[in-house]
């Protein structure tokens, strides 16, 4: 009986790889919902918690619709304008098109990567969904820069545009086999495409939209650290899927990427903790500081996870955490960083951390970390990346990483700026001050912990029980009230 049915479509299909890809994607999804939603929801002022979470839920939804209707193919489909890089076909952006038909059940395929990596062992749907959760988390990340004043309506309009114009292009150039992929720049799972881009977009958006109320900036206390920890924990462990899923195979490199992710994160968290201990104004270790460090570690290892060895991962965590900690305390005091109101500091923990990680790949990438082993066919060679400290000590990879970073920064900054300005022509990007005064209640008629004295409208008829009829013992009370001089 069994032979009669094969539960899988193509040969070369592996249920193990499919299982891992779906699991990894689900973990990344959990990083957004509820992960980021409640981390940010707990980090913002109490009066903005609902707004923040609803922006997260709605953006996650918007990105998926856009992704299915046209954007996935702009990031991973056939190049729109074909170019060639080092002889092989390339481009800057994919041709838009829906990814919704039954054809999605066929074996996965990224046209420009054919032959450059093993054929996928799972269906296109799995690839589509895995890439979706990455696309979805990116605007959620830079949401952190604009909460506390951004118009909810504008958010609903901007997210789809941003995913289409900015994210797809970044993804195509580095992951879709586009220009920088051809050039040999690498981004293991989104240090550039996701985090550097989110940091840049958030910063630009914060600048364009303008700052929160002076009063809110002065009263920027978070509202619930239990939820911050809940979100942070989900982020950390969810990142196992974030980086572990990116080789597309449940192979040895996936496991190595998971280990490296955790090593860098642990190191970065501890470095931040120790620096708070030793150098912060109050010389105390803090939970939110440690969570910052944790995020820095997760972000910085992201572009490098499967390319560096364990020691390299620790180094990345230590270096980036030191840099970002310093930026957080010092850079934030100067010039534009002081002026622009990046509510949760996304530009530091994602922008700078992602940039550091991407560049450090150029130094720490260990050629012995095999992403894809060589096959049997002659001429086939294993795929790995070599940084300055290995092989023939060349700076080449570093430069590639640097140029790719600059491209991402510039493209993202311009794209974000233009989108916001254009949308700004049709609607206010910033809520009126009166609305900002009250926050969630004004925008959504909800507050994060509603008073239990709220009563349904129309439920206020005086009860029969007590009616102010003839008053008993008037004299005694009279006497009492008469009892004053």
């Amino acid at each position: 009986m069994h032979l009669d049915y094969i539960p899988y479509p193509a040969t070369g299909y592996s249920s193990g790889d499919a299982a891992w890809q779906l699991t990894a994607a689900t973990l990344v999804g959990l990083m957004s919902l509820p992960g980021l939603a409640v981390l940010y929801g707990g980090l913002v002022q109490k009066k903005w918690a609902v707004n923040t979470m609803l922006m997260a839920f709605s953006a996650f939804s918007l990105v998926l619709i856009v992704w299915a209707l046209w954007a996935f193919n702009m990031g991973f489909g056939h190049p729109w304008i074909k170019t060639t890089v080092n002889g092989s076909p390339s481009g800057f952006l994919g041709r838009p098109g829906p990814a919704m038909g039954a054809g999605q059940e066929a074996q996965a395929d990224i046209p420009l990567l054919d032959g450059l990596m093993p054929k996928f062992n799972f269906s296109q749907s799995a690839l589509f969904y895995f890439q979706f959760v990455f696309a979805a988390i990116t605007p959620l990340l830079w949401l952190g820069s604009v909460i506390g004043r951004m118009s909810f309506k504008a958010w609903l309009v901007i997210v789809p545009l941003w995913t289409t114009i900015v994210y797809s292009a970044d993804a195509f150039m580095l992951w879709g086999g586009g220009y920088w992929a051809g050039k040999g720049a690498v981004d293991y799972s989104g240090g550039y495409v996701i985090h550097l881009s989110a940091g840049t977009a958030g910063f630009v958006a914060a600048a364009v939209i303008g700052p929160r109320l002076k009063r809110d900036r002065e009263h920027g206390a978070p509202n619930n650290l239990l939820l911050c920890a809940t979100g942070a924990g989900i982020l950390w462990l969810g990142w196992n899927g974030f980086n572990g899923g990116d080789p597309y195979f449940a192979g040895a490199d996936a496991a190595a990427a998971v280990v490296n992710t955790n090593l860098a994160t642990a190191a970065a968290l501890l470095v931040w903790l120790v620096m708070d201990y030793a150098l912060s104004p109050t010389k105390k270790p803090t939970l939110l500081g440690s969570i910052n460090g944790m995020i820095v570690g997760l972000v910085t290892i992201t572009p490098a996870a499967g390319y560096v060895n364990g020691l390299g991962a620790i180094c990345l965590g230590v270096i980036s955490s030191t840099i970002v900690w310093t930026a957080w305390y010092k850079l934030s005091k100067v010039w534009i960083f002081k002026k622009v109101d990046d509510t949760l500091g996304v530009v530091y923990t994602h922008g700078i951390a992602g940039l550091c990680g991407g560049l450090l790949v150029g130094l720490f990438a260990d050629p012995n970390m095999i992403v894809y082993p060589a096959g049997t066919a002659k001429g086939s060679s294993a795929f790995s990346v070599t940084g300055l400290f290995y092989g023939n000590h060349s700076w080449h990879q570093f430069w590639m990483q640097l140029f790719a970073a600059l491209t991402v920064i510039v493209w993202t900054a311009i794209g974000t700026f233009v989108i916001l300005r254009v949308v700004g022509l049709f609607m206010k990007l910033r809520l009126p001050d009166a609305v900002l005064e009250s926050g969630d209640l004004a925008v959504h008629d909800e507050e994060v912990s509603p008073p239990q004295t709220l009563v349904a409208v129309g439920a206020a008829s005086p009860p029969a029980a007590v009616t102010p009829t003839a008053v008993e013992e008037p004299e005694s009370t009279a006497s009492s009230s008469a009892s004053e001089p």
Binding site: T453, A460, P462, P463, A465, V466, T467, P468, V471, E472, E473, P474, T477, A478, S480, S481, E484
Partner: protein, 120 residues
Amino acid sequence: MRRGRLMKLITAVIRPDDLEIARRALSAFGAPGMTVTPLLAASRWNRHLEVYRAEVLVADLVPRLRIDVLADDEDVPDLVALLARIGRRPRGGDDTGRVWISAVEQVVRLRTGERGEPAL
């Protein structure tokens, strides 16, 4: 005569579940307004127990509401009687709070600046 001397502040410590009935009665009576302040009351009654992980804890400060009503002297007896009637409803052997009256020398309605009685 000087009205100022005859404004009073009626303060009542009541049980949370009496709030609604009290409010409705007061507004039905026409009391202009009131404030409600949640507080903890040291009561010799009703020290309810709570149990967490087998540890029995006693809430010897029970949650109560403090109601403050500014009123004209003439209305005081009625208002007190009204609150008394509410408080007196039979209840599980349990405290039912206090009402006390104190003199107020002046009242100002901030919105308009009116003073004295009209500001009540």
